[in-house]
Symmetry: D2
Subunit: 347 residues, 4 copies
């Protein structure tokens, strides 16, 4: 059994991770920590765990937890993981970090977009970007995994075949993404109140969201050249789900069939990537509660643009599920172990 | 492996059953039928199954399915199962019926509340009311199981200890129940449209809902005398969940402690029944996607009434989950096999 | 023009009042105050007012505002109004208080249920309970009006004819009420977050909600004897609306026709009270954005209970609309001035 | 008083029009018609009108209604108005058509996108596209007004200044629009069921929605050259509201200040167009129940794109409100008569 610890378990992503780990046949969840609820039963904070999870929220003590656990998941505010994770810790355990600190190899980008000086630069070289479908081989030997952001996972996976197969004008990418409210976390801010988010649609952090450089960096690796794109996140009145609607100009003469081939080439063997049929587009409800990303597209012949859409459950494939997938890879398990939940509908 | 068939799989309850059976380690799902979608891939009707369920919707042919399957689940309109199920079928397979036809032993009640003449009376004696926590022993040997209604499951389990332990005035029971919209099914009626049900709360079928005689019949068995009660269902703007708020007058001198003892006596060993702590009340979100019923209560000393609340996922404990639980009992499996889903939150 | 001030305008009820006053032909809104947003444009806090309301949030200074305004609305936390309102202020202006401080004539009840010592007792005699349909005559000359609570307005109006006409067993009243989330206000508490309230139904403050003594006191006046009842509030995933489902045992021999007559007697001439037709039950969506209360009932002959339901918009008839109605009465305007909004659907 | 008739009053747009006309001081609503509910009280179909609207749903008889009414609003399926409206009718009354039949001057486009042969071509010359902010002068003398579509209103108004002032690359426009479910109407289709639309985000009719040629035609007039663009509608789990997020490449050297000036030039005097402040973006909740369109933008300097967002209430500015605005113009009333509703929040 893999011994696992979750630091920052009482946020929505941490909580979802606990749910998945409890149903994982090869994992023993040893420790959950929380800043706000130290000493409380985890099942008091999240009563879905009543009678089935007896853990108590511990104070965070990463050294001790690293000692006891084979894998430690960090769900901490930006900037904190960079300070807490050390070489010594990485000798003792595998770290899978939900935050942004080790996602960007470009420190300048990190410092500019996050407004922080990076306190863990020296570990960046070791860090592997945990987008499993792409970095599987590197993840196998990683000790420090930067679990990708929710918008980024959805956007990158939706766009990879287009860039990898050189099908689009690389300067033409626009991502219009829509997220459920759980993406904003459990913090107490007015915008997250029921009456503020319900019955409303809005864009936010237009042209300034921090997932932008993350998407760009990863897509640049794929494209083999620097990608700059537009990314607009929207807050949608639903609990879970991200839909990323991506636009790009097709290169002269590229057909819908060639596009489909590219997607099939990249994803036919990927269990967690499902391509929708011609004329069918992804919907967030069809992936809810699961680690799937559904991808579909059409070609607008009038404008010669491709519109490709990806749908994920932001708390699963966009956070906790992908973290488990990363863990499975590191520990040599079948990649879908504990991740075969059938999407739940209607839910 | 238990071979299973689902007749009427493309309604919400049937669909949820498919989800659960796919994750059940001891079941092979052989056949799904549908009236509306014959010949279509099940995963086209419910795209959550894309790439993970390759079944085609069959035409209903109960004799043939009974031949091939060890257990057949029926999710059919009222009155249809009573006609379809025969002695011969019950010799070949176990029937678990989601409809009302075999729930009421009192044929007069059935014919009055459902406005139908009962076409399967001769099988009623064989039929076992599949409320697992209560009828476990009878279920073990049953061939024909009437899976309880959603409101009834929630209401009956919430009230049993009060009646069984003789703690309340038997004429004083009022059940005010609130259900999510999936309880109304997938049929095309104006009331089920998004804009009609969203941002709205209403009661419906006040004092005339068909689950009333079912609740009364079962509670009468428990009480050892005829129970008549008030039941008011409400439509709540959410996908899933039932909350039943039940009121009754306590017998003179009964204390909160005695009430708690009664609940503990009845439910301490029941895995799927969870009692909330003193001062904590059930919420539908904490059971979503699971087979749990959460029960909590308080005593209003000013009026000497007990208010007991039960919360279930109407599609799981209120339908498909309980059906699987019944199947597990019949086939001698551990009762929670395939039913250990941790409730999913927020969802 | 009536000069009006709103103290505590940036909560949901205060904000709704501003909306109504802006559309009131006889009112000039002079001042809005806020604790949290002093110096900010009101239209920055609530951007629906962009370009149509240029007021700046002021610091609260009740003496000054009383000087300048003919009527001052208070939307303050419990206990604060009791301290702020003085004889001197009441000589200068009319106070309409949204809080609980002057609603209960019984100081003991106030101090017990609110856990506060009452700092404005000496003004209680002057205070008029502003349930317009009942206290119209007293309101005309009032200087201090206690605007009723949302649950209370809905519950009391639903039950009055039954008690006034002596149709029910006075000990048998149970009120099971369901409220939208705006009833909880704009404060930052975890329970009010979107992901916590959405897709959930729960009861709260069971047998202990502070509107209970208010309902009881008013109904006791009507009944001519002490009424004790059970009241259970529920949080419903919608922005606005209260549905109160009320149960009571009919006196021997009372018929549905007699009940209807009682309701017609009391409400036929009341513009804001609408009786639904036989067999039709109130829904919150049909009153949204309006000052109406819709009331409907049925008699359950099997249990001899009446089930009567009332539906209001909690922010209008349950708060700001009723406050305007009170103001209209005090200032001798037609009672529906500024309150003829047609309910908005779907919304 | 202007005598008005509404043909097709029991759809959501027709119903919203009835609401607005009832509150319009210069209008007498004479007739409402319905296919489905002939002979029923309108207030039985929409119970918000209980006791305040006594109209009976009539059978459609456009000649008779044209005789009796000064203005007739048509809310009919595509293709029907083109057949019903005649020269004779237009001599008797003003027609304001909610459908698409007279929106496109280009008959080929109409026949291609709607798959219908146009049965009212001969009237197209007379038809005025009723986008009030742009066509005010023409509307004044119009007898046949094509009320714009909801997506189109929002998209066109958001983009006009950019094209009119020649600030963008005309081939670069992408509109990613999100609509509430009322936009789909009250028809009984599975996609509009609560459980299907709730907790879900999806795109639909990608690159094939019929509002596309309408947007293009109008923007082409503004630009003085043929505009082709990408338009992607999305279904959002809320009752009302459209948010259109529009992308375009700025011409070399255009600054944010120049863009703002263009918007101010076009809209500073438009009562129903509100520009958000720098850094603030439109949200559908701030316009709900009102005829406003809120427009805001930012410039993404990294990609040299402008992102401009428009938010409307699809049933008001996107349908019934704009129809009333058109009527006001035709009849020489102040343009905002009956349209000064303050947006309602939270709702």
């Amino acid at each position: 059994m893999i011994k696992a610890g979750v630091i920052g378990a009482t946020g929505y992503a941490g909580n979802e991770l606990v749910r998945l780990l409890m149903q994982h046949t090869e994992v023993e969840l040893k420790t959950v920590t929380s800043q706000r609820y130290i000493g409380k039963e985890f099942s008091e904070v999240y009563q879905n765990y009543n009678e089935i999870n007896t853990l108590i929220c511990q104070e965070e003590d990463i050294e001790k937890i690293a000692e006891e656990c084979d894998v430690v998941f960090l769900a901490l505010p930006h900037g904190v993981a960079a300070k807490k994770v050390t070489k010594e810790i990485l000798e003792k355990t595998v770290i899978i970090d939900f935050g942004a600190d080790f996602r960007l190899q470009n420190v300048n980008d990190y410092e500019k977009w996050y407004g922080l000086s990076h306190e863990g630069k020296q570990l960046l070289k070791q860090a592997v970007y945990g987008l499993c479908e792409i970095n599987r081989e590197k993840i196998k030997n990683a000790k420090l995994i930067a679990n990708p952001g929710c918008y980024t996972t959805c956007s990158i996976l939706s766009l990879i075949p287009l860039l990898a197969e050189n099908l689009i004008d690389k300067n033409s990418i626009i991502i219009d993404a829509k997220s459920g409210v759980s993406g904003a976390g459990r913090g107490l801010v007015t915008e997250s109140l029921y009456c503020e988010a319900n019955e409303n649609m809005k864009a936010y952090k237009v042209a300034s969201h921090r997932h932008t450089p993350e998407i760009e960096e990863q897509l640049s690796y794929i494209a083999g050249e620097k990608i700059t794109l537009s990314f607009t996140p929207h807050l949608t009145p639903m609990n879970r789900g991200i839909l990323a609607t991506c636009y790009a100009s097709l290169k002269q003469g590229i057909t819908k069939q060639e596009v489909r081939k590219a997607y099939e080439k990249w994803y036919a063997k990927e269990y967690f990537v499902r391509l929708t049929k011609e004329g069918v587009f992804p919907e967030t409800k069809w992936v809810k509660g699961s680690n799937f990303i559904d991808i579909g597209f059409t070609v607008d012949e009038r404008t010669n643009r491709i519109i490709v859409m990806g749908a994920i459950d932001n708390l699963v494939k966009g956070a906790a599920g992908q973290a488990v997938q990363n863990m499975n890879i590191v520990f040599g398990l079948k990649e879908d172990t504990g991740l075969c939940q059938v999407p739940i509908f209607p839910a």
